[in-house]
């Protein structure tokens, strides 16, 4: 299979699957089709690792985005497996009807299409449209339960997401205006490949202004404080597979957009450095979210704040820049996606067996549901950054590279990490251990996705394969 076919596979399979799934009434068949479509997309992404298509005016695969594509399609695949068992239970208790389920599956694939298109687009306008598609589909999914809280969360996400996306478009137009005198009118002035080579000759003032709009616009979607207000509610009120995909993937896609534009600024000698802006937003997200963790009473909101914390760490690492910090940021992003989505898989089943999302009503899980309980324990230990898991390695790299270059910045960084660590351990103790309370329905969970994710995170923490290290190093160099 050539690279061109593979990139079409990554885009067309979700688009076609969305259309088919909208028509399939039988839910067992549609969950299987959903998984099958994700398998095909993931296969296409794997081919892209080896075979790169030639960059066209609209599509581009390079070292940087192929990491994101593979990660996105992989987590989408395991989330679809989790979704199959999660949805069975939601149907059984009547929270979702078959009609809504058709809608849900179609939206799931449309979301995959939007995210993949945003990642492989070689055109800043096309990328903007793709991120808008992804935003709209998630808005609809967040509101799917139609409870007042779910509708309010969807509305809030909608308004904040739309404003963010509108500001990002203004930034996109400004980038075009900066590029037009240098590369001429038309598609060239919007394609990454041309912009990246010509950005040194752009008007720096215009580029700076554009980046402010882009950072605020796409930063809203990354969930960086103080633009994060939509994120906890959207995570808490939607179906849990969507929480996993939001945390694990959509935040990364928005971050990818910011990083691409940061590269344009880095190529221009007259433009401001984008790094300090990212460092400031990253640190404020980390510290703010760490403190907020202590006050959460809803388990999905709790882990949503943890996602804000980790996006802060990742933004901080990319803001520091340079080969080591970029490598650490990339590794942390991968590990966070895998770990956080696995945690949401476990939390989804926990909320189903206990019939509640309130932390206070979930007690002693390791006694009542050993498999689920211990999955959560492993997940929280991993996300808190304890060895031997991969997040320990990436956080260690972030902290040590900061100490080597900017020791002053390491102080708030370590402070934030420790505060977050304390909150995670405190809540974990209550939820996982002690006397079980409340209803305890038997669990019919699918443990395979959780197991695969944790195994990968564990392997990464103990031993990073040399080809993976070289690959990430190449990407880190590409990110400047």
């Amino acid at each position: 299979m050539s690279g061109d076919t593979a990139v079409l596979l990554v885009l067309l399979v979700p688009a076609v699957a969305a259309a088919i799934l909208a028509l399939v009434p039988e839910h067992r068949l549609s969950t299987r089709l959903n998984v099958a479509a994700c398998v095909l997309t993931f296969a296409g992404a794997l081919v892209l690792l080896e075979q790169r298509p030639t960059p066209g005016p609209f599509l581009l695969i390079d070292d940087v985005n192929v990491v994101f594509v593979v990660l996105t399609t992989f987590v989408a695949l395991s989330a679809s497996v989790f979704s199959a068992s999660y949805i069975d239970h939601e149907l059984a208790i009547g929270r979702l009807t078959p009609t809504y389920l058709r809608f849900y599956h179609a939206m799931y694939q449309l979301l995959m299409f939007g995210m993949n298109l945003a990642l492989v687009a070689n055109n800043i306008g096309l990328m903007w449209v793709a991120i808008e598609i992804a935003t709209l589909t998630t808005v609809l999914m967040v509101g799917i339960y139609r409870t007042p809280a779910a509708l309010e969360a969807a509305w809030k996400y909608f308004i904040l997401g739309s404003v963010g996306i509108a500001l990002a478009l203004f930034g996109t137009i400004l980038v075009y205006l900066a590029a037009r005198p240098v590369v001429g009118e038309g598609l060239d002035a919007m394609s990454w490949t041309v912009l990246a080579t010509a950005s040194a000759r752009f008007d720096p003032a215009l580029l700076n202004l554009a980046f402010v709009f882009l950072l605020i616009g796409y930063g809203t979607k990354v969930g960086l404080a103080p633009l994060h207000a939509w994120l906890p509610d959207a995570h808490a009120e939607g179906p849990t597979p969507i929480s996993a995909v939001l945390s694990g993937l959509l935040l990364n896609v928005a971050l990818y957009a910011v990083l691409r534009f940061k590269l344009l600024l880095a190529g221009n000698p007259g433009a401001v450095a984008a790094g300090p802006l990212l460092i400031t937003m990253g640190l404020s997200s980390l510290i703010f979210a760490s403190f907020m963790l202590y006050r959460r009473r809803d388990i999905k909101r709790f882990f949503a704040y943890s996602s804000i914390e980790h996006m802060g760490i990742i933004a901080f690492a990319f803001g520091m820049g340079g080969p080591v910090a970029n490598f650490a940021g990339l590794l942390h992003m991968t590990m966070h996606s895998l770990t956080k989505s696995a945690i949401f898989f476990a939390v989804g089943h926990i909320a189903q067996v206990k019939g509640t999302q309130k932390i206070a009503e979930i007690r002693g899980l390791t006694a009542s549901h050993p498999l689920l309980g211990w999955s959560l324990v492993i997940g929280v230990v991993a996300i808190a950054g304890m060895p031997p898991f991969g997040i320990f390695l990436s956080e260690f790299l972030v902290v040590s590279s900061t100490f080597a270059r900017q020791p002053v910045l390491a102080v708030p960084l370590v402070f934030g990490l420790l505060i977050g660590f304390g909150a995670l351990m405190l809540r974990l103790h209550g939820v996982a251990f002690g006397q079980p309370t409340g209803p305890a329905h038997p669990d019919k969970a699918s443990y395979l996705p959780i197991l695969v994710h944790f195994t990968l995170v564990l392997i990464a923490g103990i031993w990073l394969p040399a080809p993976l290290v070289q690959w990430f190093q190449a990407v880190a160099r590409g990110l400047g």
Binding site: W128, L136, L151, A154, R180, E185, D203, L206, R295
Partner: protein
């Protein structure tokens, strides 16, 4: 470029800023819809004029979308939604009209101060257009934060979006403008359908973080 071309473009774009100010002081929902229809109609004229000046026929499509969809269909649909759902007809403001107008003037001054120096090398039509477009965007944002009703927040968002289309049309030779305006129209259609289907009444009309925190018992 003949100076008449520039003068007319300037007049129309300035007209949009003026209509944005008119949106700010409306205190009845139906009046707001009428002024928004005017806003969209002026946008259609602006875009059509740009299409003529730049000799870019695809911009006529964008102008047509603005005219048919935003100046006619959306206001009529919103009018019906308000009648059908019995949403309050009076606009509740978080900040009084006077201070809001003053803030609006300050925002226009800000956008001129920001845009004119950085676009010093661009041609004069683009410069002025962009300064006006940023003013319209900021006035739309101002409207979203100073109004409590969901419907008027939506109108604020749509006027913001008109400003973006103005900016995109003014950026000479920008590709994908039609596609972007179609994508935005889908977004708006969803918002309007969303208000109707989700029955977002006055109860849901705040974007206040603390309201939901309280609802979930996360705040004492």
């Amino acid at each position: 470029m003949p100076s008449l071309y520039f003068d007319i473009a300037h007049l129309l774009a300035g007209g949009m800023v003026l209509v944005s100010f008119m949106l700010l002081y409306q205190d009845r929902v139906f009046g707001l819809f009428n002024v928004f229809a005017l806003h969209a109609a002026v946008l259609a004229l602006c875009v059509a004029w740009q299409a003529f000046v730049q000799d870019a026929p695809h911009l006529y499509v964008t102008a047509l979308i603005a005219l048919v969809f935003k100046a006619i269909i959306v206001p009529v649909a919103l009018h019906r939604v308000v009648l059908r759902l019995g949403i309050g007809r009076v606009i509740e403001t978080a900040v009084g009209i006077g201070p809001t107008m003053l803030l609006g003037v300050a925002l226009v001054a800000l956008s001129i101060q920001v845009m004119l120096p950085v676009t010093a090398h661009a041609d004069v039509l683009t410069r002025e257009d962009l300064a006006f477009a940023l003013s319209v965007v900021l006035l739309g944002l101002l409207m979203m934060v100073t109004r409590r009703n969901a419907v008027s927040q939506v109108i604020g968002f749509m006027s913001l979006e008109n400003g973006l289309i103005l900016a995109a049309a003014g950026a000479k030779g920008m590709p994908l403008v039609v596609e972007i305006s179609v994508a935005f129209s889908v977004l708006i259609a969803l918002i309007v359908i969303g208000i109707f289907l989700f029955r977002i009444r006055e109860r849901f009309d705040t974007v206040d973080v603390h309201a939901l925190d309280r609802a979930r018992g996360e705040q004492s």
